[in-house]
Amino acid sequence: MILTPLISLALAFAISAVVILAIGESPVEALKVMVEGALGSSYGWGNTLYYTTNYIFTGLAVAVAYHAGLFNIGGEGQATMGGLGVALCCLFIPWPHWTLALLGAAVAGALFGALWALIPAWLQAKRGSHIVITTIMFNFIAYNILTHLLSKTLRPLGSMDPATANFPPATHIPGLWQLAEMMGFAWGKHSLANVTLFIALLMAFLVWVLIWRTRLGYELRAFGKSEPAARYAGISPVRITIITMLISGGLAGMMAVNNVMGMSERLILNAVEGAGFFGIAVALMGRNHPVGIVLAALLFGFLFQGGAELSLWTSIPRELIAVIQGLVILFTGALDNMVRLPLERLFAARRRKEG
């Protein structure tokens, strides 16, 4: 049933339009500005794809955990810690070439993110602590740790910014526009999207393989559906919980390659920009399927970039996107039955009439 998420999405947008109307602006105008700004130029596309890259990572992170019946709401913290890993890796290892640095940073980001997910996973598996609550707590703990490190330990001498030093040039990875230039055409000059997009797409493919083609995927889906059945089949709940959360946290942490290494080229506070929460919306929208997630990530990338344009050209602040995001999560995730049940009844009735 592809119809349910589409109707939910339509409802979310309809209400957003009402909100825009209510604050005295024109939804059509707003949409025009957003489409123009996000998709109307190669530069807009470049930025849209940058955000898309973030959301593919966090969306996959939420989805992998979801298949194992775990709600990982800690993407924010895991991506934050991933950023720390990426920063340390870029600052303290003398990389000879950006390709190697990219690989190293991806590993470091994933490792830090995975380790940040490990503690809540272990607590859930061994002590029965609710993973939703612990991952929320770990978001705040990560934020505070980073604040401390950036204002004390990692801040370069003489700087007032709570941020690390700039990464050395050898770690600068090319943006998509640079690749285009290398291939001899101009596209999206100075836009934000970079080669990390390809890593994100590769991860989406690997997640698909993992979930539907490997024993681990089979086991984690079985565990997600029924823990007693998993135990009957000899699948260890502790092992699955921990491995799943390591993968989930790793995916969220890997996002830092995009925003920290690929964009700001130093580690700043709040680098994640809520991408962890966008991941929830993206996974819900994409029905936890990698293809759906890539499409939903593109939609939210468009929304985020379009929202930035909106605040630039109209008096609608970019917080509009948070409203839309909240509504999308509400309708596709929590009010799912409101849309699905009447639809099912409708189809059942029609089938009866035909049959």
Binding site: R213, A233, G234
Partner: protein, 538 residues
């Protein structure tokens, strides 16, 4: 003896008599399933009326309608001759109906007193309600021999006592009509006897009791009238005195029941399973298994009889490699002479399967199948590591599908569609998928828990036959069932479990229901009459 279809004016219960409940033309459908088909039923005041039928015959649906859990699609309910609209449980309670569900509806961390007054408080403040209830409870307990400490926390009570609380709850609400849904499934025979005495006492006071069960013995023992349900319909209502168990059984299944399974005498081989001094203490510190010693040889079926909750499930789970989380185990298990670890990494379900143990678990919907997985995925469940299902790092889904197709054909699973999710098959066909998966692995030892619970009669015969075939192929079978008839029909030896112990072993040809019943209650058969209830806890 003639059994006639029931009408409100049937000869057994003539019109004009004092009817407590009358149902007229009640129908209820869930989707495509017609759970109740124009049911007519009349229950006389001051009688115990049994409703008997197989699992899935629609008994519980009918009673849930009477208690306001479901609204009937059609039909009318009369209480004391007056039509009543039972829109919810509140209306049912107001009409004087009390219900004791199969799964108790108690708040586990509340006291008995709090549970009793919940929903029947006298006012907005608790103190006066509690005081009144305490007195009332003491009176009820005295009158009906149902002593229970009002200040005890419910989860500390034995199952039998929790059931008392449920009955007291109904009586506190001044129920005139008491419905009990399979009340003895969790009781020892002695506890069940006590319950029956209580019910008879209530009837003698003029209360009306409806007893839902699938056990013929109970019907014969205490009911005045009995209605038989089959496939959503009432196929007959008779006075209990005018009938006999065989006739009832035929009505239940719609044809002669074969309680015997055709099988040749067992040809016993070498010992396959040896259990010595197996003990288990659960997470809460309760000793569930108190030193089990068992042997099963190749080519025989050992049946374990017992009331649910006496350690049978724990035994199966330990042998299958998934004991309750947090439990402590000791003792020894050996299969084919090789000792198996009790816990740790080498003792999980995978290791057990490698050691040649197959397992049809007690609850197929919670353990044996992933209800949202397709049939083909389920057909490999637990064996998904097997080399023939894998190619390098990836699973060989084509091979698994092909294999599942074969299994479903050989076991006549309907519909034979491997792409259908498990939840869309009937109970019997779900069970066939599990049985096919486990038997076709040709295990040296097959664990079987409640193989025919919620399974239609055709599938029961099929499954029984396959289990016997496995035995005849020289494999060992450990069968656990709460259905004594099933145990008697299938087993080559019968062991009875009570309170975590093996009470005794019998050969089926020399065992009687009475003797086994005594053992199930924790007594030696020659130890005299059954005394007060022992406390089996679940």
């Amino acid at each position: 003896m003639a059994v006639q279809p029931e009408h409100p004016t049937s000869p057994q219960i003539a019109a004009g008599q004092d009817l407590a409940i009358e149902l007229r033309g009640i129908s209820k459908a869930f989707g495509a399933v017609q759970a109740n088909k124009s049911i007519d039923l009349a229950v006389r005041r001051g009688t115990i009326h049994g409703i008997i039928g197989e699992n899935g015959a629609g008994k519980s649906t009918l009673m849930s309608i009477l208690y306001g859990f479901y609204r009937p699609d059609e039909g009318e309910i009369l209480i004391g001759g007056q039509p009543v609209a039972i829109t919810d449980s509140r209306a049912a309670i107001r009409a004087g109906i009390g219900m004791v569900f199969q799964h108790f509806k108690l708040v586990q961390n509340f006291t008995v007193l709090e549970n009793v007054i919940l929903g029947a408080e006298d006012g907005a403040l608790l103190r006066p309600s509690l005081a009144r209830a305490r007195g009332e409870l003491q009176r009820l307990a005295r009158d009906y021999e149902m002593q229970v400490d009002p200040d005890e926390i419910v989860e500390e009570l034995s199952v039998g006592h929790q059931q008392r609380v449920e009955i007291l709850k109904a009586l506190y609400r001044q129920a005139d009509i008491l419905i009990l849904d399979e009340p003895t499934g969790v009781l020892t025979p002695a506890e069940a006897d006590h319950l029956f005495r209580v019910l008879q006492g209530l009837r003698d006071e003029g209360k009306t009791i409806i007893l839902i069960t699938h056990k013929l013995r109970e019907i014969m023992k205490i009911t005045d009238n009995v209605s038989v349900m089959r496939r959503g319909e009432i196929v007959g209502t008779v006075a209990t005195a005018d009938t006999n168990p065989t006739a009832m059984a035929e009505m239940m299944v719609g044809r002669k029941v074969i309680l015997k399974v055709d099988k040749a005498p067992a040809r016993r081989g070498a010992p396959v399973l040896e259990i010595r001094g197996l003990r288990m203490v659960d997470d809460a510190g309760v000793e569930r298994l108190r030193g089990i010693d068992l042997d099963i040889r190749a080519g025989e079926i050992l049946g374990i009889a017992g009331v649910a909750g006496n350690g049978q499930s724990q035994l199966l789970e330990i042998l299958g490699g998934f004991p309750e989380v947090g439990s402590k185990l000791s003792g020894r298990i050996a299969v084919n002479g090789h000792e198996l670890p009790l816990d740790g990494r080498g003792a999980d379900g995978q290791a057990r399967r490698r050691a040649g143990i197959g397992h049809v678990p007690e609850d197929r919907q919670v353990e044996g199948l992933i209800m949202d997985f397709d049939a083909w995925e389920n057909a490999a469940f637990g064996y998904h590591d097997a080399p023939e299902y894998n190619r390098g790092l990836l699973m060989d889904n084509a091979a698994i599908r092909e294999d599942a197709r074969g299994k479903m054909a050989r076991f006549d699973v309907r519909p034979p569609d491997v792409e259908l999710a498990a939840r869309n098959f009937s109970g019997g066909n779900q069970q066939k998928i599990v049985v096919a998966r486990e038997i076709e692995r040709n295990p040296d030892l097959l664990l079987v828990g409640q193989p025919t619970r919620g399974v239609d009669i055709g599938a029961i015969e099929f499954i029984h036959k396959r289990i016997v075939e496995l035995r005849d192929a020289g494999k060992a079978v450990l069968l656990v069932s709460v259905e004594l008839d099933e145990i008697m029909a299938l087993s080559d030896r019968i062991a009875v479990m009570f309170d975590g112990r093996i009470m005794g072993e019998r050969l089926p040809e020399e065992a009687t229901t009475t003797a086994l019943g005594c053992l199930m209650a924790g007594m030696e058969p020659d130890a005299g009459p059954v005394q007060a209830a022992g406390g089996a806890r679940t």
